[in-house]
Point group: C2
Chain length 160, copies 2
DNA sequence: TGGAACATGTCAACAGCACTGACATAAATT
DNA sequence: AATTTATGTCAGTGCTGTTGACATGTTCCA
């Protein structure tokens, strides 16, 4: 819905979309004393049970020291458990406990809601053809959209 | 291009897309001793010259203390300058110097390339109809796409 | 069998970037 | 003249990333 259909606008929209996208779960996580790093680990272990440490490191692109810090929290508070690999006993296979699955579910729920809303905007025909721009704009917190639209309009007028 | 057309896949793709999206500029910024916070400030000041501190704080959603730390770097190294507001002399209007505009240009260039590539994928008809999913997938580093596809396929098989 | 390679865990130090709380100054507003 | 607003700054803290070094147990290969 913002004016210019340039790739540069997409860059900015991606920033705003991501800002609000991570804001939802952040509020829930804070109640548990967890952060985004915990969220990412919990999410991937929940969706891909049996993930190894090495696989998780490759997905998250962080060091094992960083991973271990948050993983220790999640294991210590019984959101995740480890099982020794069967074929390779060096590996630690990661699984969510029921508490872990429940929390992961709460987190994905608020994010799904936002994504669903963004997709609904597209399908309501408000954006024809459906564009990446409209999707990202729909990801922004509804009350904030006017402000983003105003900001971006300001640019279209001043620079080219 | 990944299999399931669910909103949950979009959540994951947004993670991967953003991960690679910020990876490009990070490499450039490291050469200047700057981080992501510097990037965000430089980007918005470049695109919206004359932005005030308060406006920038509202865009970035950080505290003035956080902003000030990186802004001091950018001003001290002559990438950004301040001008006292004309109508309200309390305000500091922010502008990029030529060095600032140049660096901002370099940064947006690498990100634009990635976005353009993602859009090109859509328009090449490889994704009909164009979807948010295809766009986000196209944002992922090409060499990494197979790995992401493999990971996500693994889920479609195991859980539902 | 013995040594190399591998998967993982851990300790310590450090950097970037957020936060809170408190306080200061100059300009605008009432 | 008093208050509010826009901004700057100091000090302390937390989360999450990094590097480098070292340890343990497992697997694999010569």
């Amino acid at each position: 819905m913002p004016a210019g259909e340039s790739g540069d606008d997409l860059i900015e929209l991606l920033f705003f979309a991501y800002r609000d996208f991570v804001g939802d779960p952040d509020r829930i996580l804070a109640q548990y004393g967890f952060g985004r790093a915990h969220h990412r680990v919990l999410h991937f272990v929940d969706r891909y049970p049996g993930l190894t440490i090495a696989e998780l490191l490759d997905i998250l692109r962080i060091t094992k020291q960083s991973l271990n810090r948050v993983l220790k929290d999640l294991i210590g508070q019984d959101y995740i458990t480890q099982k020794t690999g069967t074929s390779d006993r060096r590996q630690r296979l990661l699984f969510c406990t029921s508490a872990g699955t429940a929390l992961a579910g709460d987190l994905i729920r608020v994010q799904s809601r936002r994504v669903a809303r963004a997709l609904a905007n597209l399908e309501a025909g408000r954006a024809m053809p459906p564009s990446a721009e409209s999707f990202l704009f729909g990801m922004i917190e509804p009350e904030e959209r006017a402000a983003v639209r105003r900001l971006m309009a300001r640019r279209v007028r001043s620079a080219a």
